[in-house]
Amino acid sequence: MSEHNSLKRDRTARIQAAIPLVKMGKVVEAANTVALLETVIRPGDKVNIEGNNQKQADFLAKELCKVNPEIVHDLHIVQSAIALDSHLDIFEKGIASKVDFSFAGPQANRLARMVKEGKIQLGSIHTYLELYARYFVDLTPRVAMVAAVQADVNGNLYTGFNTEDSPAILEATRFKQGIVIAQVNEIVDRLPRIDIPADWVDFVIEAPDPFYVEPLFTRDPAQITDAHVLRGMIALKGIYAEYGIQRLNHGIGFDTATIELLLPTYGEELGLKGKICSYFVLNPHPTLIPAIEAGWVESVYCFGGEVGMEDYVKARPDIFFLGPDDSLRSNRAFGQVAGHYAIDMFIGSTLQIDKYGNSSTATAGRIAGFGGGPNMGCDPRGRRHSSEAWLRCGAEDGILHERTGGLPRGRRLVVQMLETFGEKWAPSFVEKLDAWELAKAAGLDIPPVMIYGDDLSHIVTEEGIAYLHRCSSLEQRTAAIRAVAGFTEVGMAADTAETAKLRELGIVKTPEDLGIDLNRANRNMLAAKNVRDLVTCSGGLYKPPARFRNW
């Protein structure tokens, strides 16, 4: 007769073993963390250390590095981000052996090296949403270590402004008889609100320092160039206005920060207020403040918090999703779902785009991962509700007949904005993506592509816009890409007559075609020119971190 209760019995045994370490309620002293981890984690466990591109359970990650590898080894790490040194140190020390993750950012180089050296067995690289999904299928954590702002002694958690991945991880872990450990900044008598109920949490540890949060979405307007302003004006007139984009996500980067700062100026001048940019799925970008203050924005749902925006968000309950305590709730899983299904446009930047329109942020020596990009930067095949922008973009599809026999179907706008040459004069348009090299070096099944060419609808460069979805063949698509690729290898292959024809067909539009005065494309168009302007615009509610203050 097969056993049906082994997970629960195993869980109970592990918790029982840890009882001597519990001081009161569910509280374990920080000094006993290593002992706790050695007691409740078993070799081969799937373990999650919470962290993404923003908040990090950094104390628990560091303590996990200190466990005895003879007791705890061969862990299978399943988590959103490989962001801290400690996330890779556990592999160097023989504590963990395999990883399934989503985003590596700052550790991308070291990760690639360790995979190559055979120190890490790489499972798959996911999008955030895919990884959350697999927590509920075949990558359920046995032990989850999360970060919260506050806890009470019973184990209720307040994740507050930076809720992020916690609910998704804990729901999967606890409801499959897993074990949950939370590091918190402080233990208090009464929480402002309960984000995670106590019976989902087994142990609470007050960490010596508050968990680390990266202000990843803050862009200093002082670093925006005239070229950014030009691309922003092109995008606003040729895409936002053209399609009446009301629901959208902005990627990280200066291009989209620029657009946010052009809404109250150039957008206003074009008469677009109320017609575009009413609903965002977006972190609380400081550069969105001027547009919010000018009454452009109806709603913003956030994946996470952003350092310094706490008070501003709290004071704008009409716009943001706030808890009963008036502080932001940012549930990344719901944010990613909203970004996948409920927006009409994703617009962002990339490092490299090939002649077919495939784009990637991977380079040969870096396994950077995906984060949320691919779920927003795609045409979601499961979408069935319609909107004006979606219908319009679908109706323009140059191969609709080949795809559906002419049956009407809408289409998400997926837009990439980039300068034809990036940092250190690296060409943004290439014959072949570096992702191919990386796939070979790291033994990946397929090159890691952020956005596939067939999902991409528009490219914006300083040369103009390529409306790729209007193309009726791959050949025409590559010609349209060449036309906006400037003086890169790809762009030099452009043929003047061919480009002229694409302009006639409305597949390529230059700033001139769009009626944009190049002389006006400069920083004076920006609603805020520096961080100080953003603070002023927020009425002093935005409190930028020291690294962004030049006063």
Binding site: K529, R547, R549
Partner: protein, 321 residues
Amino acid sequence: MTSWTEMQNRSFYEATARQRAKYLLDEGTFHELVGPEAGLSSPHLPVLGEAVSFDDGVVTGVGKIGRRPVFVISQEGRFIGGSVGEVGGAKMVGVFQSALALYEKAAAKYPGDESRLPAILISFETGGVRLHEANAGLLAHAEVMEQIQICRGKIPVLSLVGSKLGCFGGMGFVSGATDLTIMSELGRVGLTGPEVIEEVLGKREFDASNRALIYRTTGGKHRHIMGSANYLAADTIHAFRAQVQRILALPYAEITAHRSIGSPALVEEQLGLTALAAEIKPKDAAEVWAYYGNANCETIPDLSTDEFLQHVKTRKGGSAS
């Protein structure tokens, strides 16, 4: 084309070297000396495979403010960090020599009329010596220092610091040797840049990513409290220009009364500051502000320039503006 009047309200911090040079002076009077068309660029950079700039990162010229002929040296931070190389240094020295030649003529022609005599403005945006041409760059610093001394008793030399890169390295010394300094709160003056301090002494001593700390330590407000920035201007070209106009309307003796070097008494004063620093061992600039009688020092960085000038107490007592 943006008009001269419109340009007056533009940010000084963001203005290019050429914009600063042109719009600090009276409308239509700026004449560039050894401009890009002269094609004088660094002979050292091509040897190292580096790109050159046809003005070598320094704009030099002459124009007028009222009746005075005013010479301008304006450094461009966008070209190799505003660094001083051989050609740029020679252009700077050339400005001093032209101003001195004009001074002799004007003093003879208009005896007793200071309003006709030339002045020199230096708009700094630099990290100091251009390392690619180190010896020539160092020599240029020494030559400019010498020219400033030759100008003493004749030509007022004013420092303007409010651009993106601030004024660091050897040029920090040079600005200290001029007759007076005008800064905006966005300006920074120092000798060793923040990144170098961090590298040598460690992040605990000085965290170069903490911009608020950098501004508290080297920024215009701190420099004004300490007295090394004699005037604090708002961040517009107009505000700097208006301050220059007010200063140049004063008698020469009054303009140069602010000098921080050049007499035994001033040397004593500087040594006194060093001794004071050793005594109170401040952990942060805000402690020094408190020492000079300021309350609520944590709010000082947030004050606007006007509020700051109204309320703040400085080392020399009251506000110099």
